[in-house]
Amino acid sequence: MIKAILVFNNHGKPRFMRFYQHFPEEMQQQIVRETFHLVSKRDDNVCNFLEGGSLIGGSDYKLIYRHYATLYFVFCVDSSESELGILDLIQVFVETLDKCFENVCELDLIFNVDKVHYILHEMVMGGMVLETNMNEVVAQVEAQNKLEKSETGFSAAPARAVSAVKSMNLPELPRNINIGDINIKVPNLSHLV
């Protein structure tokens, strides 16, 4: 079972949090800090598995993470999950985000925390993997977005603002999350990198 999904940036700022097991607020923050501490001091060329955040539950638990340009995606799972399976699930999650946000970047996560949650709802439900097929997830999310589009006006504003910012010609424009897995070619990413 997946116990928690955490996304934070290179400075440890939480960008997304979803716990599937209840922890008090204070504890959640501590877990994020501890996880960041554990993950951030690891090189990029070491393995993607970590044991032993003492907070989230001892030896039965593993942290499985991937580091994309500015963000860490960390899944905290118990021993009933396959390490490599989860590692690829993270990849699927990020690729899905990429599809839904059209070249996802850290800003997308910041401004659309709720949408990220909805996307995740289609993939993981109550700590269980519900769907791993990216197209299926995207289809579900898009079906929901149709509802939103039917409502015009204010709610669309921030999204528009952000996409305006994204297409501005800033040389240091934050890169979209680099799905840099050697095995995976994501063609639609290459043009921005």
Binding site: G52, E83, G126, E148, F154, E172
Partner: protein, 1110 residues
């Protein structure tokens, strides 16, 4: 990155202004923008508090529209994510979920599932909304409700939702069915009994036409089968069929991930099959095929394929074994372990750890990789490797493995790792202390290095593990120490060593030890200081006193220390220091300490009583505790007759006190009892502080007869003291039973059970780099004693050495013959390089290579720089070789020369390809020696390698320096002597001369050739000698004769036919000589051929000697 975000955000307001309708949700944008602009945590906190205050007003205002509310909720979610509590909004989130339109509802549900937890009281308010949405005709609403249910739902309301969700299993849309299955799974997790009745429906879900629904149902099956596998055995066939179809590519291409069909589904199915097939040969039979196919199909080089392979391997090793699958799985593990990808390597190690119990030989195959992983830059890999080593620890490799663990322990910082590792080390150290017993028979050395090993290892554990170590660890350690291992003398030495090492530790200044360690130290010192006869007890007391004064000690630790001092005072009652100490602490603020100081004072006045209270070395004796305190009867009677109130138990007093408080008390104040006496049972004396508390009770309850009462009180105290708290009676009895089982026998039988490596008869002569070699040596020490068909990289015949080991334990020369059964000739030839001295005398002191090597490791562990914090004690035993050398057969480390300040030891190491001479320079004094210069001179016959001439700028006090190098013969010769000298600077420049004897057999090694090769060489060699030798023992067969000769002359028996036999040996580096023998009654016709007449003659002489001596 943050700068970039900042810049982007600073550009935002302009953009937003251009926006025709800057709606309320831009508030989130501005919030985020202002947060990002902040520099300090304080500012952020201030801002968010402000924001929360605004939000609070907004959400509670009746004018806020639902749309605005939705926007507020998103901001609240954001604030909560940053760690600020926004509980005022929870109720509004529920409202939003209830009242909003689809989009608002969605935000409401999301907020609720993020804010609340299962037991939150507000959650009940959500139930109605969920139930309503579950019945909605709108697909999206139903899905939202199901998602929420699986996320968060109050347990007591499950019955209300259950029928609705069950209905959803028949829903026409597969997404609803899928979510319904997972919602039911959630119910199963939190209230398994409530969903018992719908197991039939789960089966239907398993057979659902939609693959997604079937996959979702597997979550449930994995769980229920884990809980109770036997009920679901009938489903094995279905799971196998499903997996076969998936593997066979029968699913729509949609389900492919990187052209692997539904990998997560495969993983799930493999896990289920694993549970079903475990310990069940029948079920396993059904699974074999599909496993085989999975292994075959998983060939694409992608992560996810490896994920499937890994599951396959685990399944194969969990279900009933099948040999050909084992082979494939082993190959797979090999792929993982050898993979350059670090994730796969990690999993490979994990898999190895998993299978190691079933198949230890697998670890041997990969021993070199494992060794490399030990030095891997990734600490996670390292830790996994240590975990693996921990699983393969046996009594032969325990020291090396513990050494590796200690190394890692010293590097690790985080608490989690330290706790786990410390636990493992302590476990190993305590698991193999019987190991100490192996040395008893040869321990005419006073201080066996293995005592050191045990104590020093635990020292590191305590000092690094600090106060995070599990309390069982110090307790077990003290128990082992107190109960001993059945041999009085050895136990005494262990304790003595502990005392000495602790005194040395306390000697150091400005070092602070963890509390638990101080407690251990003080207990040991209190209990066993008397063993160290040369150390005055008073100095021990003063050291403990210093600890009390200088270190920050908790009151618990100070109680331990005081207890130790009290015990020591019982041995030496007259000491001015004690007076001073009593003086000091009887006025101290800590009541516990004051109490103990007073007790000590009183006891000192009653010397015979004190000695009766604290007898020497009696902590393990059972104590009778008079729980009824009958010895107090007289005193109580007297007190009662004097008008004292009868004793009332604690609870009674409490009740009375309560009843008094309720009503107005018109009575005059009666006897006053201490209001909250800690309730302490006599049987439960867990720490000395409890004792003091007890004493306090008795001190408070008594009124008269202070002195007499004091004495009576001490009687009670004594019983607890003697037990020393943690040495509970029951516990000690049980463990005694375990420990006392004759350790010697157990040590031996261990050796027999794990018949270790039989080496291939001819170790490959390879040119390998030094580094490689070191690694291999490490490997062979680590993997010693594993598996029956083990592959020993160093080609070391451990089987024979094992037997010698046992032999040496018995120490009977006569029985040596029993060992030489014909089947072992090859091994013998390898292990028995021999000298002019008789075999028995050589074998006994030299011991087996392995046993010796253990010592070597210990000494290298503690004598080298690794452990500078713990200087070995002032007593020096004969030093041991470093493991790299000690693993070869070698002679005993013997003293070569000695003068006042420096001792030189030597040992010959008979390696397969050369003779190494190891010289150990020992500084037994307590001051450092400088400028040591060791020199050896070649002779015409022997050449010494340069590494034996060494220079050492400094050798610390009690330090050992080892140097070694090879010695090569240039010409054959019976005997030769190499001399050398050591110059050094102690207080004055001095010189120590020495010489080392070598005999021809030191340089003779067996030559592994076949009969054909023998034939060719025979004619090629020119110098031969031929002679008949009388055999002293009549009626021996030729093989027996050969064995006799082999004890002196290390040669390879090529072939024996009837009473004729041939053998071959070589003088290093490679001068072959051949041997032809013919047995005629009691005469042996020996015919030796070699390339030099001297060699032939010398060899013949050795043969004669061997046969005559017999």
């Amino acid at each position: 990155m943050s700068e970039i975000v900042e810049r982007t955000l600073s550009a935002l307001p302009g953009l937003l202004l251009q926006d025709p309708a800057p709606g309320p949700s831009s508030k989130l944008g501005s919030l985020i923008r202002s947060i990002t602009a902040l520099t300090s945590r304080q500012e952020e906190e201030k801002l968010i508090q402000q924001e929360l205050a605004n939000l609070k007003i907004a959400v509670s205002s009746p004018n806020t529209t639902l749309r605005q509310m939705k926007e507020c909720m998103v901001r609240l979610i954001y604030c909560e994510m940053l760690g600020y509590e926004a509980s005022f909004g929870y109720i509004h989130a529920i409202k939003l979920a209830q009242q909003g339109n689809l989009l608002e509802k969605r935000v409401g549900y999301l907020a609720v599932s993020l804010f609340l937890h299962e037991n939150h009281e507000l959650l009940l308010l959500l139930v109605n909304t969920v139930l309503k949405d579950l019945q909605s005709t709108n697909l999206v609403e139903v899905c939202m409700a199901l998602t929420t249910v699986s996320q968060i739902f109050p347990r007591e309301m499950i019955p209300a939702a259950l029928p609705l969700i069950e209905d959803k299993l028949q829903h026409s849309k597969e997404i609803v069915r899928r979510k319904a299955v997972l919602a039911l799974y959630k119910f199963y997790l939190i209230a398994p009994t409530q969903v018992q009745h719908i197991h039939e429906k789960f089966r239907k879900a398993l057979c659902d036409r939609d693959v997604g629904v079937m996959a979702a149902s597997l979550h449930i099956y994995l769980q229920v089968i884990k809980d109770n596998p036997s009920v679901y055995k009938d489903l094995t066939g279905s799971f196998v069929t499903i997996l076969k179809q998936v593997v066979g590519g029968k699913l729509p291409v949609d389900f492919n991930y990187h052209s692997v069909p539904a990998p997560w589904l495969q993983i799930q199915l493999l896990r289920i099959l694993r549970l079903l097939g475990k310990d069940d040969p029948g079920t396993s039979q059904l699974i074999y095929d599909v496993l085989d196919e999975s292994l075959r199909r998983a060939e694409i080089n992608h992560n996810i394929t490896y994920a499937i392979l890994f599951e396959c391997v685990q399944t194969i090793y969990t279900i009933h074994p099948k040999s050909d699958l084992f082979e494939k799985a082993a190959k797979c593990i090999g792929k993982f372990v050898l993979s350059p990808k670090i994730n796969l390597k990690y999993l490979g190690l994990k898999a190895l750890t998993y299978v190691i119990q079933q198949d230890p030989s697998l670890a041997l195959q990969h021993q070199m990789t494992i060794i490399e992983c030990l030095d891997h830059p990734d600490p996670i890999i390292k830790r996994e490797t240590l975990e693996l080593l921990y699983r393969i620890t046996n009594e032969q490799n325990v020291t090396v493995i513990v050494e590796k663990m200690l190394e890692y322990l010293k590097q690790s910082k985080d608490e989690y790792t330290v706790v786990a590792l410390v636990g493992k080390i302590a476990d190993l150290a305590e698991k193999y202390p019987f190991y100490i017993m192996n040395n008893i028979l040869r321990a005419n050395l006073l201080y066996s290095p293995n005592n050191q090993w045990f104590v020093e290892t635990m020292n590191v554990v305590f000092s690094i593990g600090g106060d995070v170590v599990h309390p069982d660890i110090p307790n077990n350690f003290l128990r082992l120490l107190a109960e001993g291992f059945g041999d009085e003398r050895e136990d005494g030495q262990l304790r003595l060593y502990a005392v000495q090492s602790y005194l040395a530790l306390l000697e150091m200044e400005n070092v602070h030890y963890p509390q638990r360690f101080l407690q251990v130290i003080s207990w040991v010192l209190g209990e066993y200081s008397y063993l160290a006869k040369q150390i005055p007890i008073e100095s021990v007391i003063s050291k403990l006193h210093n600890v009390l004064l200088q270190n920050p000690v908790t009151s618990e630790t100070s109680a331990w220390i005081m207890a130790a001092i009290t015990k020591l005072v019982a041995i030496t009652p007259h000491s001015s220091l004690v007076d001073q100490l009593i003086q000091e602490f009887s006025t101290c603020l800590d009541t516990g300490m004051r109490q103990q100081a007073c007790e000590l004072k009183a006891l000192r006045e009653e010397r015979p009583l004190m000695q009766r209270l604290f007898p020497l070395n009696s902590c393990c004796e059972d104590l009778m505790v008079d729980a009824s305190l009958s010895f107090m009867d007289g005193f109580v009677a007297e007190a009662l007759s004097n008008g004292a109130a009868p004793y009332k138990p604690h609870h009674q007093r409490q009740e009375e006190k309560l009843s008094r408080e309720k009503a107005l008390n018109l009575e005059p104040y009666g006897l006053c009892f201490s209001p909250s006496l800690p309730s302490i049972s006599l049987a439960d004396g867990h720490s000395p502080s409890a004792v003091s508390a007890l004493s306090e009770i008795s001190g408070n309850s008594g009124e008269t007869g202070q002195k007499e009462e004091n004495r009576l009180k001490m009687e009670g105290v004594k019983k607890l003291w003697g037990k020393e708290g943690y040495l509970l009676k029951k516990e000690s009895k049980v463990s005694k039973g375990e420990c006392v089982s004759p350790p010697l026998e157990s040590g031996i039988s261990m050796g027999e059970e794990e018949e270790p490596a039989v080496t291939p008869a001819e170790p490959k002569v390879e040119l390998i780099s030094e580094e490689e070699r070191e690694k291999k040596q490490l490997a062979s020490t680590l993997f010693v004693g594993l598996g029956s068909n083990a592959i020993s990289l160093m080609g070391r015949p451990s089987q024979t050495t094992q037997k010698f080991k046992r032999k040496t334990k018995f120490g009977k020369k006569e029985s040596a013959q029993l060992l030489y059964s014909p089947g072992e000739q090859n091994d013998l030839a390898l292990t028995l390089p021999n000298g002019a001295s008789s075999v028995a005398s050589r074998l006994l002191p030299s011991q087996s290579a392995e046993e010796k090597s253990e010592d070597g490791k210990v000494s290298s562990l503690f004598a080298n720089t690794d452990l500078e914090t713990f200087p070995s004690s002032t007593i020096l035993s004969v030093p041991s070789l470093i493991p790299a050398l000690a693993q070869h057969s070698h002679s005993a480390v013997t003293e070569l020369a000695r003068c006042g300040t420096l001792t030189l030891y030597s040992s010959k190491v008979w390696k397969d390809d050369c003779l190494l001479l190891a010289l150990l320079i020992v500084n037994p004094t307590s001051s450092a020696i400088k400028n040591i210069y060791l020199q050896m001179e070649d002779t015409e016959i022997l050449k010494v390698s340069e590494s034996l001439c060494c220079q050492l700028s400094l050798l610390e006090a009690n330090g050992v320096h080892q140097c070694w190098g090879s010695v090569h013969p240039v010409h054959p010769c019976k005997k030769e002597l190499i001399s050398g000298c050591v110059t050094y600077l102690a207080e004055v420049p001095s010189q120590l001369e020495f010489s080392v004897h070598f005999v021809l057999s030191d340089f003779i090694r067996p030559l592994m050739i076949s009969t054909e090769e023998f034939g060719k060489m025979w004619s090629a060699l020119s110098h031969d000698v031929k002679e008949s030798v009388q055999i002293s023992i009549p009626h021996l067969s030729l093989s027996e004769v050969f064995m006799t000769v082999q004890k002196t002359l290390n040669f390879h028996v090529v072939e024996v036919i009837g009473d004729e036999g041939i053998g071959a040996c070589q003088l290093m580096p490679s001068v072959p000589s051949l041997l032809h023998c013919h047995l005629q009654e009691d005469m042996l016709l020996v015919w030796i051929r070699s390339s030099s007449s001297t060699l032939s003659n010398c060899l013949l002489h050795l043969c004669q000697k061997a046969l005559q001596e017999h």
